[in-house]
Symmetry: C3
């Protein structure tokens, strides 16, 4: 969508200082705005906006000597929110089961459900009220999706798994793939049946391409309110607590228990069969190789306290210098001994 | 599903000691069992079960003074297996090609094939006996799926690729995406056509979100019996040996050859164009930057023997202390020299 | 496909020295060729080909004393290219919108578009000329796909996102999933609406299972000609420059700006909200934790110059030896002091 600054001024009831004919094709914040964008600024960001790349800046009345084309309005925030709705039209979608979707036998469908074309709900599944299933989602046999949850395109919820209320499962996520369990005899690996399930409690968000493996027996559990970023692996039988944040590309090995309110930065890894205490933060790339207490801030691989990690990193940079000093000391001492 | 302990006792022919009215809604092992679960215990796990969180524990006759509600049976393992089948109903699915699937022209379909709604088998593909294709699988032109293989939802097997017998390809895996090959001139990258294929030999398991790139020319090969966990990247032209285990989030760069029976822990990485010998284990996070012999146990980045890695890690923790000692030595020596 | 060497000789107009009855079922380069394969060799690779595993080698006339079965032709490269076309039949596909696809209302379709079964183009989307949409692709409302782009199976382009001309989006990639943005109060995380989009400029290639998150506001941008390998995460509001190469399993955190012509090796990670200068190379596993200048070659975590990293790695291997030396120095000095 493109609009001239003049057209935009008419929409928000503002006044242009500069070239009214500028064409605006996007909206962004000060740092992100490029050549065709409109941004907005209020104190204390007016100074920063003077050198931004935006085509024009929406400002409150009273800002003088602004060096770029400006659009003066009463309330820049409110005006920007109004423009966002115009530049990003709301999605419209009837709450209905598409004739091009497939709903199996003995499925329970709640009220006001949206099932888009090519979504498939397999036999005996239970779909709660107001659930939205995007195209190419697959909800397996006996699986349950709680009220008000959204499952995006190409995501899978395999048989018997349970998704809570108000959950968001992003595109191509897989809930309930088999855990990685094998017995090995004479070098040949034989699959251990993975007969458990995955339970996502209420208010969980699962990122694009997350894989949450089903338990060998029992359940892999993601606690209420936990939010998981993209490309995260959760092994079978993990029990992740409530309100955790798990940043992209982290991997939690099987049968690991994590307390509530734990943050894992990006690309963290853990071994399996450990307990990680609540209320903790693990910096990006942490490698956790054993049980961890509550309330810690850690980093590194093998993981240590963040303070110790900083000290060790500082010392590592001095390593070549340390080698040199040791060599000098040896020479001096040899001179005395000689 | 919920059943009272009394109902469960009737099913397995057992005797309850404690509250028969307890409602059981899940089954799990001792460590994983939560408030509504039933677990079971036999020696040497009886002691551990005394303090578990399960609502009730199934025990063999003869165990006395058990502090929790117990369900006594002749053979707890057998009874538990029976309950697992009741709590997790078997999936029923006719072996048929759904009228809502799409099968292209000149496709060869074996006996007893299951093709679920919205699966697509493209022209000239070959599907073996007893193959199961879940919804939203895409089998490309001239691709082949061997007998008894299962391809889960949203997985892709691109054109000309070959999947062996008894393989399992998990949801959203991609077999045969283009290798990452470009020529660069004046800073501009031009795609090198990737005209090779992927061959999965028999008994291979491919995890959710694995990407196995097709060869530039020839084949990327995953050897017989090799099992790959989730979110693993195998670059073009790799030749992975038989009976390997590749744990989650590992990446093997292009044209790398791996011998048989090699285990890669999670989040391992390798450079390309190297040979990694057979019968070896690489710990999680190993970073392999050159050819490796057979029969090693390694760790670290750059990779080294596991023993050396442990020694180096121990020394690293002493680094701040070492810096202090060097400084003290320098002062003492300066005193002598002064 | 299988052909005898005699049949192949007839196709390319060559002469066999050795067993004409050998059955060839594949073509590969010298290093990759296995027992049933034909390869080819020209100088300086003739020597290497003498010990390769191929069933036969195609050679130029004039090479004598070759120890393996050979097929002599005028131009081995040209003959091999001809055979590649025969062994790998070209894909045939009419440029048409399948009756089994779903195209929503108010969609603009260009000329010569291919939309395969079970692909879905949602309302108000714009599809350019010669675009190919594989099965199970989902193109969201108001999304745009530029001329000559190919979107492979199970990929998602969410609402309002824009894909440029001549782009390739590989299977199961997700363009425009929500950025990972939450506000936290009393330990409970509340989603920040992600109302921005993703823009892929022209000639971009997106790997299998890449997740490119939509901006919180404004756009996440992948610059013209940038090529991204598999399983890469690009956080919301990132601005990636032109002609970058991003190798597999790398993660770029949100709001990071990357200049043009930057190469990230595999499994690299960056923190968010930083600027990474143009014309640089970051080795595999680099961990970038702050702003970076242009024109550097770096490695390590935290990242440092590649030269310093090599020096530090060398010193680290000497760590146990350094500990011993310090201990010896302390003893000697104690002797003098005593």
């Amino acid at each position: 969508m493109k609009k001239t600054l003049q057209e935009i001024a008419a929409i928000v009831g503002g006044r242009v200082a500069g070239d009214e004919a500028i064409e605006i094709d996007g909206l962004d914040n000060i740092a992100g705005a490029g050549a065709g964008d409109l941004t907005f600024a209020v104190e204390p960001h007016i100074e920063e906006a003077k050198t931004c790349k935006a085509a024009a800046v929406m400002l409150p009345e009273g800002i003088e000597d602004f060096p770029k084309t400006a659009l003066y309005v009463d309330d820049p925030r409110a005006a920007f929110a109004k423009l966002l709705e115009i530049f990003t039209p709301k999605l419209e979608r009837p709450a209905e089961v598409s004739a091009k979707a497939h709903v199996g036998k003995d499925v329970k469908l709640g009220q006001n459900v949206t099932i888009m074309p090519f979504a498939m709900v397999d036999d005996h599944a239970v779909i709660g009220d107001n659930v939205v299933l995007y195209p190419h989602t697959y909800i397996g046999q006996y699986a349950e999706i709680g009220d008000d949850s959204v499952i995006y395109s190409n995501a899978t919820v395999r048989e018997h798994c349970r998704v809570g209320k108000r959950c968001v499962v992003h595109s191509s996520a897989v809930i309930g793939s088999d855990g990685f369990g094998f017995t090995t005899k004479d070098g040949v690996h034989t699959k251990v049946p993975q007969v458990g399930i995955v339970v996502l409690e209420d208010d969980v968000e699962i990122g694009a391409h997350d894989g949450i493996d089903r338990a060998a027996m029992g359940a892999t559990v993601i606690g209420k309110g936990t939010k998981i970023d993209n490309l995260v692996h959760i092994g079978h039988n993990c029990k992740i607590g409530a309100n955790c944040l798990i940043v992209a590309q982290t991997g939690i090995s099987g049968s690991t228990t994590v307390g509530h309110n734990v943050t894992f930065g990006g690309q963290v890894g853990t071994v399996g069969h450990i307990n990680i205490g609540a209320n903790s933060v693990y910096a990006a790339r942490s490698g956790i190789i054993g049980d961890m207490p509550e309330g810690v801030f850690c980093a590194g691989f093998p993981v240590q306290s963040h303070t110790e990690w900083l000290r060790m990193q500082a010392a590592m940079k001095k390593l070549p210098e340390m080698r040199k000093k040791i060599s000098q000391l040896e020479k001096k001492l040899a001179k005395y001994e000689g």
